[in-house]
Symmetry: C2
Subunit: 409 residues, 2 copies
């Protein structure tokens, strides 16, 4: 089978089941060794990090009781007292700064066909002040505590056995979600799946109340499901399909199947955004988060055309979203076997971002993204559209070709 | 203010609040006088009715205990022992045969701006065998009993105060519903609105279980809300806006603002459909139901373009739905102030079907419709697209012009 076809076959054979909720230190064993925190994007040292990622790490230090003030947290992080891990390198993903600390509760998502597992955390909420965008006020920490100590156990108590997130995602994109900046339907469908197992009146159940108030709750699960579906596609010789896109707020990194876990990196651009009052593009941090894994599996920007309400959120339009989607078909090797955006035509979303096609056409993927304030401590300030730099795809394509040459010689 | 602008102003000022659930005999007083049943579409005598409407009336006779067998029910109906009422003429709407009997439970929807009220019944379910499509087996009657005696009281117990159905509808069309053949999101959003008031574990609550299983539940409410919004537009001299489209399975009838409650009628066409196995177009009854009121308010076929999953249900396509929508803009006087199908462009759905534009262009409205088997006792066999005959709009347009001439002379 040609290598890209092999990738499609592995994707098609997979699923993404929500298996359990466990402490992050169990889900990500490296977090349990000494003091460690994980973060979005390719690895980088603390001093090189952007404001919102430094802020989120400071907040996690406070949350874990490893520092009493942001200033102390900053000093300890700068002194290298805490090991910093890249989520993707430890089987995890999380949005924006993506910081995961050992005592947070983590979802475990499994691809049952291949047995690989992915961890992610719960979504704090949709207000401006959130840890994932670098805020760390007492209110942020208190909500984080409520999420992990009250909401996540309530969800755990209501989890049905082996819930297919892939199926929820397939339904959600037919309900106006693109599953990156809009997860209204995904969150409702998750809540529907929990309802039969809830043993208390809904108004008094923290899982019900949190999910009703947090329309982005499903994002984290969509991301982990995307990674669970994509990880088995890694390491196919000659395969030019992108298996991960991730950003740490300074650099964008991508992985391509043939070259396995290797990152191809370039400076992260600032998204073109729609800002919340009183913020503007001057306040924006460059592109950040593991969340572009949903675009890698053919969602997010790839299905913005069928998510009219999301077009508004990211400052796009019906016309632009349609044009972007046709560009994505041009650089994708396949249509998704799962995510059917035009059922009457059996048309799957663009799947299989192909570094060869990207390098040859100069067309880059389209990511619908949240935007963090560039300073630590503030939070989310808008949402928009961003395209990773062409260079990372060109570099990856050259590396795949070099590998092929080496294996011949 | 020009008459059509006056219609838009009245629509824009309105809302549709779900107020209560009461027995149909209270909601529709004419049902409480002797033996009476109501039905969809313009009035017609029992002998002239189509199979599914006769079947539904027979089923209602059995349900009310007014006959022991369908044959006896048929004889009594034929003998004129039961008064038959047109829903629209008694402040009610219901899908397909639309039969309402006195002991069913009815939703009351109010337009608070004008004080007018509309009644509708609960939706039985989405299986083939349903009373609304002319089935009357013991299983149908037993489900109808469960709906009215168990589900509707459970919903009544969980109703929040003054729930705006208009707002739910606005959200639902951004979640892939066109609110005629697809009401998945509307039904979920209704359930979400009930949840906080539910005092028992969800798995044991009949409102929760019925709504989770009945993705079309919201249809009846969308219809009643549409009528509640449209009724105040009736009776504006010179106004050429359609205020109701309704079908009794034999004839299509429309009402236009200037001529008030007068029906303009023509034979009902058979929808172009997508049939459920083993049925085909040969089995189809002509177009039936009050449900085209959702198209009259700018939903259903008018927003099929943003409901990809529904395109498949009715055998349409992305391309066709877009073309149909642009035709609808050509015959509509306005864009809906409520139902925004492209938020980034602030583009409302086509609203204000204008008999003048329809008569002049020859373009007729587009209805996404369920299809009933033409024989009594069978039920629903598919869904499709139908366009009312041009003649009714031409007749209405002529009547509005005649009226204007008379008022001048």
């Amino acid at each position: 089978m040609p290598p890209n076809e092999e990738a499609l076959a592995r994707l098609s054979a997979g699923d993404a089941l929500l298996r359990a909720i466990v402490p992050a230190r169990e889900a990500i064993p490296a977090l349990a060794q000494g003091r460690a925190l994980s973060h979005a994007g390719p690895p980088l040292p603390y001093r090189a990090m952007c404001g919102p990622m430094q802020g989120a790490l400071q907040g996690a230090m406070l949350y874990e009781g490893w520092a009493d003030t942001p200033v102390e947290a900053h000093a300890r992080l700068e002194a290298g007292e805490v090991r910093l891990l890249s989520n993707h390198e430890h089987g995890a993903v999380a949005p924006m700064a993506g910081v995961i600390s050992p005592s947070m509760q983590a979802f475990i998502i499994e691809n049952p066909t291949f047995g690989n597992r992915v961890a992610t955390i719960g979504n704090e909420g949709i207000q401006r002040e959130v840890l994932r965008c670098g805020a760390y006020s007492p209110a942020v920490l208190s909500r984080l505590r409520y999420l992990n100590e009250t909401v996540m156990p309530a969800i755990a108590a209501a989890l049905p056995e082996g819930l297919s997130l892939r199926e929820i995602m397939a339904q959600a994109i037919l309900m106006g979600d693109e599953l990156h900046q809009r997860n209204v339907a995904g969150t409702l469908l998750l809540l529907m799946a929990l309802l039969p197992q809830i043993a208390s009146p809904p108004a008094r159940n923290p899982a019900v109340t949190h999910l009703r108030e947090t329309s982005q709750f499903f994002l984290n699960l969509a991301m982990a499901a995307a990674k669970a579906l994509l990880d088995p596609l890694s390491g196919i010789p000659g395969c030019t399909i992108v298996t991960a896109i991730s950003r740490n707020g300074v650099e964008v990194g991508i992985r391509v199947s043939a070259t396995g876990d290797r990152w191809f990196r370039a400076p992260a651009p600032v998204p073109r955004g729609r800002y919340w009052e009183p913020y503007s593009a001057r306040d924006a941090n460059p592109d950040i988060g593991d969340s572009a894994i949903v675009e890698t599996v053919g969602l997010g920007g790839a299905v913005l055309a069928t998510a009219p309400a999301c077009q508004q959120i990211v400052g796009s339009s019906d016309e632009e979203a349609r044009r972007l989607q046709s560009e994505l078909y041009a650089i994708s090797a396949f249509q998704s076997p799962f995510f059917i955006c035009a059922p009457a035509e059996s048309r799957g979303s663009p799947f299989g971002l192909d570094v060869e096609r990207i390098a040859c056409t100069g067309i880059t993927p389209v990511i619908t993204t949240g935007i963090a304030h560039r300073q630590a401590g503030i939070g989310m300030i808008g949402a928009g559209i961003v395209r990773p730099p062409l260079q990372v795809f060109v570099d990856a394509w050259n590396a795949v070709r070099d590998q092929a040459t080496e294996s011949v010689t």
